[in-house]
């Protein structure tokens, strides 16, 4: 049985549909990410779980009890806000203790729990600091400790890492995942950062324009995107116009000068999709896509090639494994394994 269940949840603001027909069931201890561009309804969904926004239709249940009939203050959820929303007039310890105080926990017990929470997020000794005197990363940790110290049934994270710089964000991702694994707290993360969603979650809910595009593990959503939107939003994708037609008595997939064996299915125009890191450089003789390197960018652990091919522009990512790489202006042949390639019937988005 689902731990947290959202059933056909809708939210309308006047004429604007913010969230449409959102159905999701979260298992206990699971880490779920709501991923999508800004305005896709992910934050609204989170706020409906939290109780700050009431859905227009649908139901939300937590362990079988109806959340919508429960006041936000009684839902027992831990929330970390994008701005952290720490209480600036309270020290880190007082911030963390606030939720415990509201639950009527005695001072002595409170102090012990606050100490443990500070230690958990690696802030021992910072208890007497005011938020203004802490760095962004430290404030973030206080916010996390404040949300977790009340032992919430569900932890809701609203773009918690977006205000941190890149290096710190990576560190916090690892730490967040570790803390979540140790405590086993069911977590819902809202983010627009696909690498963050993939690094942290057990499952990703990709959203666009208020609708769910795909629900799946990070690998599933990346390797087998259910729609054009998902494949473009999760990492980069090369797309080539192609055609399936009968040639020499067999169905062939034809793009540029290539004639590949086509999978079963009707003839007609299709779009070939392939991830940049799955594309390799082949010998010119092979049955491959011909092109020319327009620019080559060194990015430390990998090379990024921008190529102009017979089927339009293509991006190729090659690992910097010491092998010689083509120069700018060089003619190249692009090839990839058929398993790594996706086919989309022209016109349909899914």
């Amino acid at each position: 049985m689902a731990f947290l269940a959202l059933d056909h949840v809708n939210k309308r603001f006047g004429d604007h549909i913010a969230v449409e027909d959102f159905t999701l069931s979260v298992k206990k201890g699971e880490f779920i990410s709501l991923l999508g561009p800004s305005g896709c309804g992910k934050t609204t969904t989170l706020q409906m779980i939290a109780g700050f926004v009431d859905p227009t239709a649908g139901s939300i249940h937590l362990e079988g009890r109806d959340l919508l009939s429960t006041k936000p203050a009684q839902r027992g959820l831990g929330i970390v806000f994008q701005s952290y929303a720490l209480f600036p007039h309270m020290t880190a310890s007082e911030n963390i203790a606030f939720g415990l105080e509201m639950r009527g926990i005695a001072r002595a017990e409170r102090e012990g729990k606050v100490r443990d929470a500070l230690a958990m997020v690696g802030l021992d000794g910072y208890g007497d600091r005011y938020p203004r005197r802490m760095s962004g990363g430290q404030q973030q940790r206080v916010a996390l400790a404040r949300a977790l110290v009340i032992k919430p049934d569900v932890l809701l994270l609203d773009e918690p890492l977006s205000n941190l710089d890149a290096k710190l964000r990576e560190d916090m991702q690892i730490e967040l995942r570790q803390i979540q694994r140790n405590l086993g707290t069911t977590t819902v993360l809202v983010t627009h950062d696909q690498t963050e969603a993939m690094a942290l979650s057990d499952r990703i809910v990709v959203m666009s324009k208020g609708r769910i595009e795909q629900i799946g593990t990070p690998q599933e959503t990346y390797e087998r995107p259910a729609s054009a939107f998902v494949s473009q939003f999760l990492g980069k994708t090369n797309e080539f116009p192609a055609e399936i037609r009968l040639s020499d008595g067999a169905q062939k997939l034809i793009f540029g000068s290539c004639e590949w064996q086509a999978p079963a299915g009707p003839s007609g125009p299709v779009t070939v999709t392939v991830r940049p890191e799955k594309v390799g450089f082949a010998s010119p003789k092979s049955d491959s896509l011909k092109g020319r390197v327009v620019s080559r960018i060194f990015q430390g652990n990998h090379w990024l090639f921008q190529c102009e091919t017979e089927c339009g522009p293509a991006i190729v990512v090659r690992q910097n494994n010491g092998e010689p790489q083509p120069e700018e202006g060089e003619t190249v042949s692009l090839i990839w394994r058929k398993d790594d390639m996706g086919l989309r019937r022209a016109g349909e988005s899914r």
């Binding site: 203050a73 929330i79 005011y130």
Partner: protein, 290 residues
Amino acid sequence: MSAAAPARYPVPWKLLLPALMLFIAVVLIPLAMTIMLSFHKWGQYTGIEPVFILENWREIWSDSYFHEMFLRTFRIAVAATLLTAICGAPEAYILNRMRAPWKGIFLLIILGPLLISVVARTLGWALLFGGQNGIANKALMSIGLIDTPIPFMFTETGVIIALAHVMMPFMVLSVWAALQRVDPQIENAAMSLGAGPLTIIRRIILPQIMPGILSGGIIVFSLCASAFATPAIIGGRRLKVAATLAYDEFLNTLNWPLGAAVAVLLLMAIVLIVVSSNALIERRYAEAFR
């Protein structure tokens, strides 16, 4: 760099000159003259004699009439300040939570009275509660709620209420500015931790807008303590405060030196109270809000 050698950059100083001259001409010189005046001698038949004596100051120091006057002035100012804080802070909070069109409209309604003269606003109270003929008094008496007119004119309560009304925009603006700095998610954060609406206001919102209430309080207090028009109209001759006292000494008794001493003392008292309370506030909130 530029601060190290200001003499090499004379332009800012030259630009300051006009304002500086104005300040010296209309503030510093009259102030110095008033202070000088407070040490001069005055006689019923001799007029002002430019000598240096402490008689005026001794008179204020020893005469209980002046003590009562200053005590009343500050009692009224404190009470009016408290009243603006009690009414103004919730007003600003409600205003801040309003939606788009209403927020602007109500802000205009609150600030609008600043465009009307204090005298006109105070006379409004006189029209409403001015004895038998006050509109409000008449109405209340005609429906039988009260038998005699509500005593408002020439009472301390009346002066306090009228002053609070006149000064309200300053408090609302000050608290409103403090509310602008409050994270809009902070109430949700407190709510998610299990705090009820009253707890949120008492434990989360109030401490954060306290600096705004206090700085608004300083403004309102200093304006109330030195207010002239409102106490003059509502309090009249019967209920004098320091400002109206100084006015009377100058224009009715013609004892300019004594009036000057009263005015200087009032100024010094207000400056002392404002500066020290401001320092206290700064120290109290330095840690969390700096």
